[in-house]
Subunit: 430 residues, 2 copies
């Protein structure tokens, strides 16, 4: 494969998510050649994926074409390909029938859902990692209401209007809140034979409270805010069986048509081929400078990395960690090229937040060495500000802001499209 | 199937395009029950579909959920279903396993592409009628550039960068212009191994000039404007064979990867079950009041109708005809309920237009009994004004305007997403 001028060191970045894209940007117009490999042609702003799944935003609103983001500097090349493995001895990445050699490698391939050994659950309860996932979940949500409107079977109607989110982390909480809002506000007047606001939304969480990573007062506040939206929260229980007709939680069977998976991740398989030690979730246990043991030319960032040196626990799989690690890895490479050593990585934790709905959110903001616990309207406004600020590309930012403003004032959501074949969905599950 | 209160006359409208939606709106809050049946859950603003296919707009920008558009009046019900047939004797419409009885029926199911007996060409050269079509064409266009960037086979690269549009009507002209603009402006800096602005765009048209329905001076102007964008126009020839590798035009074989079909329509099969006379394109030959012979309770509007009484020729399959016929059909029904006769339909032809690109268009405007021929910037501004004015729903209008303004000033197009599995596309055709 041609990769341009061979004189300058060649940096290969695998993955165009938050970690990989930040690394690439930090190397723009530096004296290196950079090849960014991704299996999609866009950078996805994953924290807003649940808004595509719930018809508030369009796929293009939260995705920026990688080639466009990185078009300015001629030292930067984008390759659309799926990487299968790394050959650490040959210094080469295998992507389909193409091999890309590297001098320095940054692996940022992220994670997928983990179904804890129940791969057959994926079809029944899709997770939310890709645009395709989001559009599929949107279709299932909207089709459930369509089915309920049509059926004359009361039990089937109830099951269609019961939505279960498995997992009470940020994604689960955001999905549950957004589904409750769609049912109560957006669709309120749309049907003639059902009342969408009677839909049940249930969150299943194994811990005693949702949002395990948050301080306890915010976890309680989030619970209260979800309940205000009518969301039922079942804590301390696990989904033990999933079928087309519903799911089993402890001894109870909940009949429901739409189930969404927001519980647990497993790291991308690409980490394995580095030969580095992996943790139970498949993450690469990196050195404290993000390099891989015995291979200082390879660094791992973001959800694929297990970095336990700062808190004793692995850093969480959130975008600020990935972005800071991506930038750090880029700096390390420039240092190594200059003959210096890679530096230890320190995560600057500015806090975390989760949105629940209109004027509803929780935020744990770390500022001036104190931790500020916000909830409700003020947390929601902080969330809004930060998310618009970090959306990649001016166009997306304005487009998203406009659609949010529109939705806020009208309670309407514009992207309520059911695409692809839906005939099978109109029939009750066999 | 439940259809509400049985006392008032029941009007069933099949199809939520321009004709069906206008008919429904004209019956809102009137003393009738209305059931609108469509196989999608949205009204599609079809004249802008080519902008989704060329990555300028997102699907949701040009689609409005039918339930939302018609939610205000309780006499209006929307049913998501695909109609298979009409039983004119039983006064009933068959949709899946559901029968919907009617007192009055408006058929507005439109048309699909016609491949003139070559059904196998559909896979090779998709047409542009649905959102799914548009997203598929967008994927093929963007993947062709990705493939060209990767391949080292010079002939395959040339074929990937050759785009052929079959048919030089408004859709063909708009597609060709938009592809040329994407290649020359939007993607100009995105690649490292190809120069997108060297892409060839070819329009195949059987007539001596493109835009057969326009006055000759505008047809010549459109030709000139397309050529200014670098589009090659082959007139007086037909595609005689299509393969994965290219297409045959007369004696010449043009190697090309992406082919788009914009030649010829065939009416929806639903018309046939009315028992009314059909023309060669499958359209129902209606009476001069839009009713079907022997069935005054059934009216046919839009692309499905052949209305030859005004000009001697069938009225063209454009949205103004469908909208005016839809409103007329609604008025006819209210008249018949009052014991009056349905009235003859007259089409008020305000002209027609086609856009070619940035500041490029032709418009034939009928005003004060004269015909005004516009081209270039002024025609483009008229086109812009009319299209934004008629976009359904305030939100879509503002969203589209914003994205156009953004694209106009930056030459950028925001919706450049390749979704679904693309691995097969990265390999050369077998």
């Amino acid at each position: 494969m041609k990769t341009g001028n061979g004189a300058r060191p060649h940096v290969v970045i695998v993955g165009g998510g938050f970690g990989g894209l930040e690394a690439a940007k930090a190397l723009e117009c530096e004296d290196v050649r950079v090849t960014l490999i991704d299996r999609t042609n866009y950078h996805l702003f994953q924290p807003l994926l649940y808004q595509v799944a719930t018809a508030a935003l369009s796929p293009a609103d939260i995705a920026a074409p990688l080639r466009a983001v990185l078009s300015e500097c001629r030292n930067m090349e984008v390759v659309l390909a799926e990487v299968q493995a790394v050959d650490v001895n040959a210094h080469c990445v295998k992507a389909g029938d193409v091999n890309v050699g590297y001098d320095y490698l940054i692996l940022a391939t992220g994670s997928r859902h983990s179904y804890f050994g129940h791969a057959e659950w994926e079809r029944l309860a899709p997770g939310l990692k890709s645009l395709e996932d989001a559009v599929e979940i949107r279709r299932r949500l909207l089709m459930a209401f369509e089915f309920a409107e049509k059926t004359s079977d009361e039990a089937a109607r109830k099951a269609a209007m019961t939505f279960v989110v498995i997992g009470g982390g940020p994604t689960g909480v955001e999905m549950a809140g957004a589904i409750a809002e769609i049912a109560r506000y957006t669709l309120a007047k749309d049907f003639r034979h059902i009342n969408p606001s009677t839909a049940r939304v249930i969150v299943i969480e194994g811990q005693p409270l949702v949002l395990a990573a948050f301080p306890e007062d915010l976890r309680k506040s989030a619970t209260k805010q979800l309940q205000d939206l009518g969301v039922e929260i079942r804590t301390g229980v696990h989904a033990t069986d999933l079928t087309d007709e519903g799911l089993k939680v402890g001894d109870e069977f909940i009949p429901c048509r739409v189930k969404i998976w927001a519980a647990g991740n497993t790291a991308s398989f690409v980490g394995k081929s580095t030969g580095a030690p992996l943790d139970r979730a498949g993450r690469v246990i990196v050195n404290d400078d993000l390099t891989v043991p015995a291979h200082p030319e390879i660094q791992v960032v973001g959800d694929l990395a297990n970095f336990p040196y700062q808190t004793g626990e692995p850093l969480p799989g959130v975008s600020p960690v990935a972005m800071q690690q991506g930038r750090h890895a880029a700096r390390n490479i420039l240092a190594m090229i200059d003959g210096r050593k890679p530096q230890r990585f320190y995560y600057w934790d500015k806090g975390s937040m989760a949105t629940i709905g209109r004027n509803k959110a929780v935020a744990d903001v770390h500022i001036f060495k104190t931790s500020l616990h916000l909830s409700g309207l003020i947390a929601w406004m902080v969330w809004l500000f930060i998310h618009v600020l970090f959306l990649v590309g001016f166009r997306n930012r304005v487009a998203v802001l406009f659609q949010w403003a529109w939705a806020y004032f009208t309670f309407n959501k514009g992207a309520r499209l059911i695409t692809r074949n839906f005939q099978a969905e109109l029939r009750p599950p066999a």
